[in-house]
Subunit: 238 residues, 2 copies
């Protein structure tokens, strides 16, 4: 009976770094030692280190940046027993319709915006749009997007019908979503969201608040999504 339980080196390193992060050896925003440094420190090769880092990034403990390093993130683990991660993979187009409620307009940022904003974002103003997504003619998602108006010429005059905002950003501005953070809650529907999602006020609604990092430094895409999960659940694998 082998009790020594030999575990793979990349898992061992993953656990070491994870523990260091949880126990506060690093602060929010700190850089992890570089990959080559970790190689030397732990006597393994770079692919092994990279596999450990890749898993840490997947689980939200770090985010990696080419030319810069791996940045530590502390917050999520405070509460989340779930540590939910998501990908913005497109939904199949069939049966899913998109209805624009508010075409892209430039507005000032809300004073109590759901995420803290940088000074640059505050100065630049906010491009706002609201959309409703229907599956088989039932409203499922009510989606409010915000993005700082930084290097996005003519954004308010583009046609968004049936095209994802992600695609517009990628095709016209060469901006990709690289990652982000999100909060998930169950809340009672307001009169407004209830009207859009065909629910009575007070009925449960799934609420997501997301902050997405883009390939353009300092530019973030925010969205507040209300989901009617009465008929359909959010489905995922992990």
């Amino acid at each position: 009976m082998e009790l020594s339980e030999k575990i793979p080196q990349y898992k061992r390193l993953y656990e070491i770094l994870r523990r260091h992060i949880i126990e506060g050896v690093y602060n929010e925003g700190d850089l992890l030692p570089s990959e080559n440094e970790l190689c030397r420190l732990h006597g393994v090769t770079r692919p092994t280190v990279r596999q450990a880092l890749s898993n840490l990034a997947n689980d939200g403990y770090i985010s990696r940046h080419q030319g810069k390093g791996s940045i530590v993130h502390l917050l999520p683990r405070e509460i989340g027993i779930l540590s939910v991660a998501g990908t913005t993979s497109a939904v199949g187009d069939r049966n899913l319709k998109t209805k624009i409620i508010v075409k892209p307009v430039i507005v000032p940022w809300d004073d109590d915006f759901m995420f803290p904003l940088s000074d640059l974002e505050k100065e630049s103003g906010c491009v706002n749009m609201e959309r409703l997504r229907l599956l088989d003619d039932s409203p499922i998602f009510y989606d409010i997007s915000y993005i700082a108006n930084i290097n996005l010429p003519r954004i308010t005059s583009r046609k968004f019908e049936n095209r994802s905002l992600f695609r517009i950003l990628r095709e016209h501005y060469r901006i990709e979503i690289k990652g982000g953070e999100q909060r998930i809650k169950a809340i009672p529907a307001s009169v407004k969201t209830g009207r859009y999602l065909q629910l009575k006020a007070g009925e449960p609604v799934l609420h997501l608040e997301r902050k997405m990092e883009t390939s353009s430094p300092g530019l973030f895409l925010y969205s507040s999504i209300f989901c009617n999960t009465k008929k359909y659940s959010i489905f995922g694998r992990f």
Copy 2:
């Protein structure tokens, strides 16, 4: 202006396979071509193929099984615009208390269980336990777990206080959680869940239903989790 947009080979392969999966070239449960076959087919090396497959697995399009191959999963994409994936990372122990409501007992399976069950599972009976998790003395999670009684001697007499079910399984039975699927919904609290979570009946509750695959073939761990998200959200990075 380079419009050719040279993308990495592993991303190219990822997109090809992803498209094949979405467009129905494979059916649910089908095996993808083996890694070596994909190498030959697309003229790349195994690490490149593995990176593409790793991303597909991360996004829930496939699950990989040593000695067997990569199995295709179709379902999630049908509805989910979010394609939520999660990891079962442990929560920090401080301030989090666990209260056993129903100690592990062996019961028959419910006739309309939330997931379909195999014959072996039905015959084996069900180990059931219910727990409440409190953060700073506020109830946050009400967790009902189910697992088939297969090769789990003395499971009903183990002490579970302040120990995760995952840890019991790992330490006493050498069983690890390898992945799974989940559904997320916002529902009104029933009288019972409301009582446990200190909510009024009808108030919104986040509901998760999870089926987790274990390292023991054919053995799955199910759990139904009700979350009080009034004070705390589920937080995640992606």
